[in-house]
Amino acid sequence: MTTPHTRERLTRIPTRSVALVTVLGASMLALAACTPGASTAEEPDSQYGFPIVEQKADAPITVWVDASRQPAADAFKAAYPEIPITVETYDGGADGSGSFQTKVQAFNQAGSGWPDVVFSTQNNDAAWASQGDEPFAAPLNKGYFEQSFLDGFTEGALTPLTVDGTVYGLRNDLAPTVTWYDQSLMDEFGYTVPTTWEEYQELGEKVAAEHPGYIIGGVGDAFAEEIYFWGAKAPVNTVVDANTLSSDTSDPYAQDMAAIIDDLLDAGVLAQENVFSPEFVQKYTGKVLMLPGPVWYSGALFSNPDSLNAKPGTIAAGLPLAWEGEDAVAGNVGGGTWFISQHSANLDSAKKFLEFVTSDERYQVDLASGLPAYEAAADKWLAKQAEAGFFAGDFAENVSTASTQVWDGWGYPRFSQEAVWAKTVTPKLAAGESLVDLLSEWEAAIENEAQVNGYTIQ
């Protein structure tokens, strides 16, 4: 009776105890034994600006998408049934999980296995995917894609993916933050929609007193800093150059924003739950008076039957908030990105795929839940939203204005600001600590993370 069990423990423990070393060791042994085939098969080809591997016209392409981008891959399959494609879903690197990077690094060690096309929710991925001895991402504007196609993207859309003038990926959607609000509740309570952060704070205090239980924002997400601090021009994530970063939470913009958040948290008008969590939906359906956040909240939260499921004609997207007497700027939360692997054996199919998913109406207008980054598709998407009349107010006008207002002082470093915020700030806010007091700790965490990723701190 005890024997099988004992045996099981004996085999199980060593298996687990060497798991990590095994992965390292096995891949290194494989490397040492056969030397990576990639470098021998590659021949430098200046035609595309990167060494291309031997191409096979009928090779299937492997595409990694997150669950939300599955429809994009399905739409491509329907449009091009003759192109063989294997679709794999992964977490999309959400919240800075780093799964895209760690998987690619493992393939680099093994010398094979790279996917051809990858979707990532993190638009700072180009910062690492363009670097290293074996950069993953293929340059797109050195002869691979037509410049006329690349010019079709909304101005600035490709900036996060551009390193030293080379474009390493295509933007799926734009994700400027806007000021979402519920027009019907505003009318019912007799409030006017704030246009500045100061008015926003005042409204929060008023709501707490007059209509407790309603919220005017949320800080429970890993990307809360991209809504509130990016949108407040806080110089917390300044990439000075390729290897220098500066972070200054003592700046008045950062301090003022933290004080506003503290004040509103005390008042109980900011949600501390993650917007994708069941608690959020449970507690705040019908109770969201305002919610500053990215444009993609439109499809992900408000019109999503599994989320807030708002009534048509109630929710409006207002312009980003400004500091009093200053011009408004928008923050930005992601906006997905598509990359093609330099190791792809079928660059033609990969190119067709990327052109389809970023610009074709059959996905970007008919199915996509966020604002397309490709301008022609964006215009049609906005027109479609206006026609559907789901959103109140001047949705198309405000969203396109916001997309030109994203503040350029927030950089795209090789590490995820979302992960730093989530582990340093989120649990302490949930425990009731003050954000103003946490700012220096947050700054230290950013600087630490930057340093281990090879940045010097200015």
Binding site: G25, L29, D95, Q105, A422, P427
Partner: protein, 320 residues
């Protein structure tokens, strides 16, 4: 009656003990059987030995080797070690894993022994064996899937034990998995998955204690508690240290639980919580296999050191 139980305890002793129990001088018949069987046993053992060599010993040696090299393959002395130890994430990870091990090992040693004694003390055979079976079930779930189950248990809005969580003042998932709670949370998960198996092992070990000894104790007027303290516990010493050594090795390499929890909590549980996670980040995020190996080697040395302590103090390699 006595014969059958004595037989049972002998079978259990030889089957359950990793060292084969008490050595008996083999009779001539047994010797030929042993001779024939020993060749077959090499075949059985070879499978394990080859895999252990390929996926255990060789990678370990390779890790030790490259831990002393720099990225270009030149000898680097202890540079990798000083670098990882100086990393701002290293000492917090050491503290996390240390706290987890402390909570978990103490709970495991005390509770498993106690529960095994209790189950062993149950007179009804069917009850005792069904309880052992129930204890064992969670261990049958693979690591990651059991963590997924715990994601629900730990979330006050969907948890079947939400009342307990609320009683501790946890209203949201983020509060439940706040940094201060994590060592305990992981210890509970690990206890839940692993303890049942050990209870079964301990039960087998308790069976190996000859009935005559227990009977003699009873005759001398020892109650249940005295018997447990003065007869059963000392005779379980080896088993307890065996459990400690094995669990220490597993626990020091905590990886799956914090990794899954990190993704599920939207990064509120950091991706660099444990040492093994840090080694993973070094290897696959920073492209620093040498640093990663240095962490692995440090883990190995510490685990070996602590295991030696348990082996020596627990008399694990002593013969009866």
């Amino acid at each position: 009656m006595t014969t059958s139980s004595a037989e049972r305890s002998l079978t259990d002793a030889s089957a359950g003990s990793p060292r084969g129990g008490r050595r008996r001088r083999p009779t001539s018949r047994q010797r030929t059987v042993t001779g024939r069987w020993s060749r077959v046993s090499y075949v059985f053992v070879s499978g394990y030995a080859l895999l252990a060599l390929a996926f255990g010993v060789l990678p370990t040696l390779y890790a030790v080797f490259i831990a002393f090299l720099d990225g270009d393959g030149r000898f680097a002395g202890i540079a990798n070690f000083t670098r990882v130890v100086g990393d701002f994430r290293f000492w917090p990870a050491v503290l996390h894993v240390g706290a987890f091990l402390l909570v978990w090992l103490v709970a495991l040693l005390v509770l498993v022994t106690l529960l095994a004694l209790l189950v062993h003390g149950i007179g009804r055979r069917w009850l005792s064996s069904s309880i052992r079976f129930v204890y064992y079930i969670p261990g049958a779930l693979a690591g990651a899937s059991s963590v997924v189950l715990w994601l629900f248990v730990l979330n006050p809005s969907v948890s079947p034990v939400a009342a307990v969580l609320r009683a501790f003042g946890f209203e949201t998932f983020v509060q439940t998995v706040s940094p201060a709670n994590l060592p305990v949370v992981f210890a509970i998960i690990a206890f839940w998955t692993g303890a049942g198996g050990w209870i079964v092992v301990m039960y087998g070990a308790l069976n190996s204690i000859p009935d005559e000894v227990l009977e003699a104790a009873r005759m001398d007027g020892a109650g249940v508690v005295r018997t447990a303290l003065h007869i059963q516990l000392p005779m379980l010493r080896k088993w307890i240290s065996y459990m400690a050594v094995m669990s220490l090795a597993t626990g020091a390499q905590l990886f799956v639980e914090p990794r899954v929890l990190s993704q599920a909590s939207h990064a509120v549980v950091p991706s660099d919580w444990s040492l093994n996670q840090l080694a993973y980040l070094y290897a696959f995020k920073q492209q620093d296999l040498n640093g990663s190996s240095a962490i692995a080697v440090i883990l190995l040395v510490v685990s070996l050191g602590l295991s030696t302590f348990f082996v020596v103090r627990g008399g694990l390699f002593e013969r009866d």
